[in-house]
């Protein structure tokens, strides 16, 4: 009986000792990893600071202005280009009257082949005044009614676009 109890305690002590050592070494290696990670984080942070400073340096207004002069030639916005509301923007003048183009040859086809559709003259929206089709061929279904007259006001135009959608 006594022997059994001794054995039990002996096993328990050995097991807990082993477990303790295992945990100790695990903690030690974790601690090393933590230290390494912290060092790496600090290095990364230093690198970030350098990059941040470099970013600020490269984005100096003077440097941007110089690059603008060389590559873009943008100029400051003139006061007359600024409008406070959409309503202030003048409408495009109505296009001069022009003869209706010849009816497209594939009007009747319900589901025309894509290449025919692309090749067909478009009857969709036209840029007022220019007479050129503005809707890409792939988006415009052939056979729709010709473009409505230009909108009288912006609200009307917006309403019309909303209706089409």
């Amino acid at each position: 009986m006594i022997k059994l109890a001794t054995l039990f305690w002996l096993v328990l002590v050995t097991a807990s000792g082993l477990a303790m050592f295992a945990v100790k070494y695990q903690v030690q290696s974790l601690d090393d990893r933590l230290g390494d990670t912290k060092k790496a984080v600090a290095a990364q942070e230093r690198e970030l600071r350098v990059l941040g400073a470099e970013w600020a340096y490269l984005n100096r207004p003077a440097a941007l202005a110089d690059m603008n002069r060389r590559f873009l030639s943008l100029t400051p916005i003139a006061t007359k280009q600024l409008q406070t509301g959409v309503a202030d923007i003048a409408m495009r003048p109505p296009p001069p009257p022009e003869p209706e183009p010849a009816p497209p040859p594939v009007v009747a086809a319900a589901t025309p082949a894509p290449d025919t559709a692309a090749a067909a003259p478009l009857s969709g929206a036209r840029l007022p005044g220019s007479g050129l089709p503005v809707t890409p061929a792939s988006l415009e279904k052939p056979g729709r009614e010709p473009a409505a007259p230009p909108a009288k006001s912006l609200d009307e135009l917006i309403a019309r676009i909303a209706a089409v959608r």
């Binding site: 600071r49 984005n59 207004p61």
Partner: protein, 590 residues
């Protein structure tokens, strides 16, 4: 125990007799007493152990079951590789753009006792760092000391080159260095630091303690875009008119925040004392001088807005009041005459519009010496300006406030002010009459610091109308910036050289506010000694130099500040800024 043994070991003990097994035979006497004593002691010690173990068990249970912060922190704190916090906080502008930061910059030092061959080490070191002085390095390396600095703040390339040499006895010390990505653009505001990163000028010095004690960046009220625009336009005026210098600032009139502050010539904060290679004749001291806060100038006619305001606010005159400006005033050895004179009786709006010295002198006389001083003191014009940086100048004014002083101060002579306080007081005239402290630190959005009511809201409204009038019909016509309802006042002063006014040395300035129907921002520009050029038809007055510069600045900054252009001839704006006393009269535009 002894008794029991005696009993048992007795050879004569009969076999059949056995003492009862568990009953100790305890003799009486001293032995018994000793036994009782030890039992009591055992009990006490046992109880103590029980208590201690109970505490340990409870604590262990608490740690295991609930976890606790107190057990963990000391371990984390002593961890050897915690990243070091930057020594000094970054400085950023109001949009978070980096104005000053700390970067790694190792410094090279040597232990001369470990150097084997000083001459050889010096020769090789000079190949990696050619800008070192060879003789000095050799002297340091043969000094026999244990520690000498060789070069502070190396670049990464230099560090690599020195490491490649592999000279024993050379070591690097990890150090950090202040870097200013925008260079000269923010030089006077942000300032610069010394080799040990202590603040020497500007915000770096004024807020040194704040910067040292925090990890998150310090956000200034500055906007680097506005700073650049102001800098560029001022530089243009200085170059166009071959001026000695210039300065300017942009300020939020409702909060007192400084959005831009430029003083020309400026300096590179990385090399503050070095001469400018492009202009070696300009001394470093002159370049490092902050004209906006430290310089004090007789600003001349811009000062008339304060005289007019105190005239209206004190009741000494009204918007319909008139003063005779037909003849120059002679007092003592002085003669006060008009530059843009109309030589007739002028109303108060006309006096400001045509910038009449005679008229303003008479308004000042009507206000009186005592009230004039009171108003100037309330406007903060008789004490140094309040701002976070330490380079602030003191206004100069006569100790004895005589009648002639009253008159000359009325049109801005005989009193010198820093541009910063002129701007702050000017903002108070148009924002409803509240003087707020100027600040370089960004305020929380929507917060305006407690101000002091210095003139009544009614006077402030009248001043808005008058300043608009100056730009619409008066000396400020050259401002331009149509659509932003600019108002303002020009000022062209003869500079004091020695004890006299120099005829051909001017100080041209313009104080502009926009939009005048609801003042939001103030732009002040000052040009020091502009020289007339062909494009200005021989003029170097404020109307031709500072005013157009302010106009260009406003045209460029208004879209960034979200101020939309409006139709200046719309009835609402015309009505809001209408000067009733001039209605129906013929305005002699200028």
């Amino acid at each position: 125990m002894v008794a029991l043994q005696q009993f048992d070991d007795n050879p004569c003990r009969p076999r059949h007799f056995k003492p009862p097994p568990c009953v100790p035979v305890v003799p009486d006497g001293p032995a018994r007493q000793a036994l009782d004593g030890s039992r009591a002691r055992l009990l006490a010690i046992g109880a103590a152990f029980v208590v201690v173990f109970a505490v340990i068990a409870l604590r262990a249970g608490e740690v295991a079951l609930f976890g606790t912060g107190t057990a963990r922190t000391p371990i984390a704190r002593q961890h050897r590789s915690a990243p070091p916090a930057p020594m000094r906080a970054d400085i950023v502008d109001r949009n978070g753009k980096l104005l000053a930061t700390m970067l790694d910059s190792p410094s090279l030092y040597a232990n001369p006792r470990q150097i084997l061959d000083a001459a050889e080490a010096t020769r090789r070191l000079l190949t990696a760092l050619p800008d070192l002085d060879g003789a000095q390095v050799l002297a340091k390396l043969t000094s026999g000391k244990g520690f000498v600095w060789l070069k502070r703040h190396l670049t990464p390339q230099q560090e690599y080159a020195v490491n490649q040499l592999g000279i024993p006895g050379l070591q690097f010390e990890h150090e950090e260095r202040r870097v200013y990505p925008y260079g000269a653009l923010t030089s006077h505001v942000v300032g610069y630091t010394g080799i040990d990163n202590e603040g020497f000028a500007g915000v770096e010095r004024g807020l040194d303690r704040v910067l040292n004690g925090r990890s998150e960046p310090l956000q200034l009220s500055l906007d680097i875009r506005l700073q650049y625009i102001l800098h560029e336009e001022l530089q243009r005026v200085v170059d166009d008119f071959t001026a000695k210098g210039g300065d300017g600032l942009i300020m939020d009139v409702n909060t007192g925040e400084i959005l831009a502050m430029v003083s020309l010539p400026d300096f590179d904060p990385a090399h503050p004392g070095a001469p400018d290679p492009a202009h070696p004749e300009i001394s470093p001291a002159e370049r490092m001088f902050n004209r906006v806060t430290l310089g004090d100038y007789e600003i001349g006619s811009v000062f008339k807005i304060f005289t007019t305001a105190m005239g209206l606010d004190s009741g000494a005159t009204t918007m319909t009041g008139t003063f005779d400006a037909t003849h120059p005033i002679r007092i003592g050895r002085f003669t006060i005459s008009d530059y843009h004179g109309k030589h007739r009786v002028e109303s108060v709006p006309e006096i400001l519009m045509y910038s009449s010295n005679i008229g303003e002198a008479k308004i000042a006389l009507a206000v009186g010496a005592q009230r004039q001083q009171d108003y100037l003191r309330r406007l903060g014009l008789l004490s140094p300006p309040s701002i976070e940086i330490e380079e602030v100048g003191k206004p100069h004014f006569p100790a004895r406030w005589r009648e002639v002083s009253v008159m000359t101060i009325g049109f801005g002579h005989g009193i010198s002010e820093t541009p910063l306080q002129v701007a702050a007081a000017g903002a108070a005239l148009v924002n409803g009459g509240v003087l707020r402290p100027t600040t370089l630190v960004k305020l929380p959005s929507g917060y305006a610091p407690q101000g002091r009511q210095v003139i009544s809201p009614k006077t402030s409204e009248e001043m808005r109308k008058l300043l608009r009038l100056v730009v619409e019909y008066g000396t400020g016509e050259m401002v331009g910036a149509k659509g932003y309802v600019v108002g303002g006042k020009t000022g062209t002063a003869d500079k004091v050289v020695g004890r006299h006014y120099a005829e051909r040395k001017l100080l041209s300035s313009f104080l502009g506010v926009f939009p005048m129907n609801d003042p939001k921002y103030l732009v002040l520009a000052m040009v020091d000694e502009p020289h007339p050029n062909k494009a200005s038809h021989g003029y170097a007055t404020a109307g031709w130099t500072a005013a157009p510069a302010v106009g260009r600045v406003i045209e460029r900054i208004a879209p960034l500040l979200g101020v939309p252009p409006v139709d200046e001839s719309s009835p609402q704006i015309e009505h809001a800024l209408m000067v009733e006393s001039l209605q129906g009269k013929h305005i002699e535009a200028y």
